[in-house]
């Protein structure tokens, strides 16, 4: 069904309240449909404008969001997109990101409900990232761009309002994280010396895509002195190797983000695969850096064959396999990289933006055209 008036007439699909910003926000907060910030009232007119960029049935779930396993229909997502402040043309990307993070390998149930502080990080690639002006440069992870701020926020609202990631109920994170408000960037393809992340992960260059990672906040790597690939990578590897990371104990896929200046220096000496191998081999700590209890109860249990009889100088790896390490180029000028540990029990998911007929979307306008044509 794709008649909005009929859909909104169904029980519980809509609410009447005073036509007043404060009254609408009070209603939404009372319902628990909130990230704590003021929200744009999801009026029928605004939701309709959002759905104009949806070429699939508006009441057919595209995914179920854990831990409530709530049905993510385009209609529900559109309401959350309006509340978050999205422009209508962002909507296809929001739908894609939600579909991707609900794929089994990401383990969204774990990412949502864990005591760990992870959140789904979305990295956008391809022409649609540029079309929507998703920031990939200076302050890409910070404020200033509507697409980064509001698509990421709409994801969070959907995770809370549809998925039930309510603090101390469905989201048991001990600390939470600023990344749980919004966590979406584009890769800086224009300044990357390597092929884009979505191409490396098997999609055609002309595709637009999201890669979703169950990630911690990024941790900065400052290296203003190293002049060689090995030098930059040594500094990054040192930052990756910490005793409290979840990734140590899983076949995890932590992310290394290089700003273009670091990336160019590294690419001067290494392919991306070689850089991954260097990082995997050098991001280590001697077992002596771990507490006695962690050695006996965790390392010697999780990696029994490796550490059962190992000495305290045995290396403990931040990432188990080089090919599992993810590298993306994001950011503006400056001699910085960043390390992004993950929840550990999660795999990155990359998914291409396609119209309902399965074709790769060249533009978000494809979604609007198709609907008008049908």
């Amino acid at each position: 069904m794709s008649n909005l008036a009929q859909l909104l007439a169904m029980p519980g699909a809509s609410f009447d309240t005073d036509d007043d910003f404060d009254a609408v926000n009070a209603l939404l907060r009372d319902k628990g449909w909130s990230d704590g910030l003021p929200m744009v009232p999801p009026t029928e007119q605004r939701v309709a404008a959002m759905l104009a960029y949806c070429d699939r049935p508006w009441d057919a779930p595209i995914a179920k969001i854990a831990p409530r396993w709530g049905e993510a229909t385009p209609l529900r997502l559109a309401a959350n997109a309006v509340m978050a402040g999205c422009r209508p043309e962002y909507f296809p990307l929001l739908m894609l990101a939600i579909e991707a993070m609900c794929e089994e390998p990401l383990n969204l149930y774990g990412v949502q409900a864990t005591t760990h502080l992870c959140a789904p990080l979305v990295i956008v690639n391809g022409p649609v990232a540029r079309e929507l002006d998703i920031n990939a440069g200076h302050n890409a992870f910070g404020p200033g761009h509507q697409a980064n701020a509001t698509i990421g926020r709409a994801i969070r609202l959907a995770l809370v309002n549809i998925g039930g990631a309510i603090p101390a109920l469905g989201d048991m994170s001990t600390f939470g994280s600023p990344a749980k408000y919004t966590y979406l960037v584009a890769e800086n393809e224009a300044e990357s010396p390597w092929e884009p992340l979505h191409v490396e992960r098997g999609l055609p260059r002309e595709a637009s895509a999201v890669t979703v990672i169950g990630a911690e906040c990024l941790h900065n790597v400052n290296d203003h002195e190293s002049l060689t690939a090995e030098g930059i990578l040594m500094t990054i590897a040192g930052t990756m190797a910490t005793t409290g990371a979840n990734d140590i104990f899983y076949a995890a896929q932590p992310l290394v983000i290089m700003a273009p200046e670091h990336a160019r220096t590294v690419a001067g000496g290494f392919t991306k695969a070689e850089a991954k191998l260097f990082l995997q081999q050098h991001a280590t700590l001697p077992m002596s850096k771990f507490s006695r209890e962690n050695i006996e109860r965790r390392l010697k249990v999780t990696y029994k064959d490796r550490y059962a009889n190992a000495g305290l100088d045995a290396p403990v790896y931040a990432v188990q396999k080089a090919e599992d390490l993810l590298i993306a180029v994001v950011g503006g000028a400056g001699k910085h990289s960043a390390v992004v540990p993950t929840f550990g029990a999660t795999k990155a998911v990359t998914r291409a933006l396609r119209t309902a007929d399965g074709k790769l979307a060249r533009s978000v306008a494809d979604f609007k055209k198709q609907r008008v044509a049908s």
């Binding site: 831990p67 409530r68 396993w69 409900a113 039930g164 101390a168 109920l169 469905g170 048991m172 209890e293």
Partner: protein, 72 residues
Amino acid sequence: MADLRKRGLTTAVICSGPFLKLGQAQARVFGVPDLPLLVIQHPLGGQALDQVKARADVAVAEFVKLLRRDAP
């Protein structure tokens, strides 16, 4: 666990106090709102083995009660 419950087996989920509401919500989501949740003292992580065993004793005793209740 929900599937086992629906098949009529005696089932229970063990959780520590702060996770009780999450467990109750999940039981409702999976259609077994009466799934017994056996609450043990929090935390479970970072405990010495005897402390873990003490929590297990609590859970086992509660589960035995369930088995006796369900016994034909």
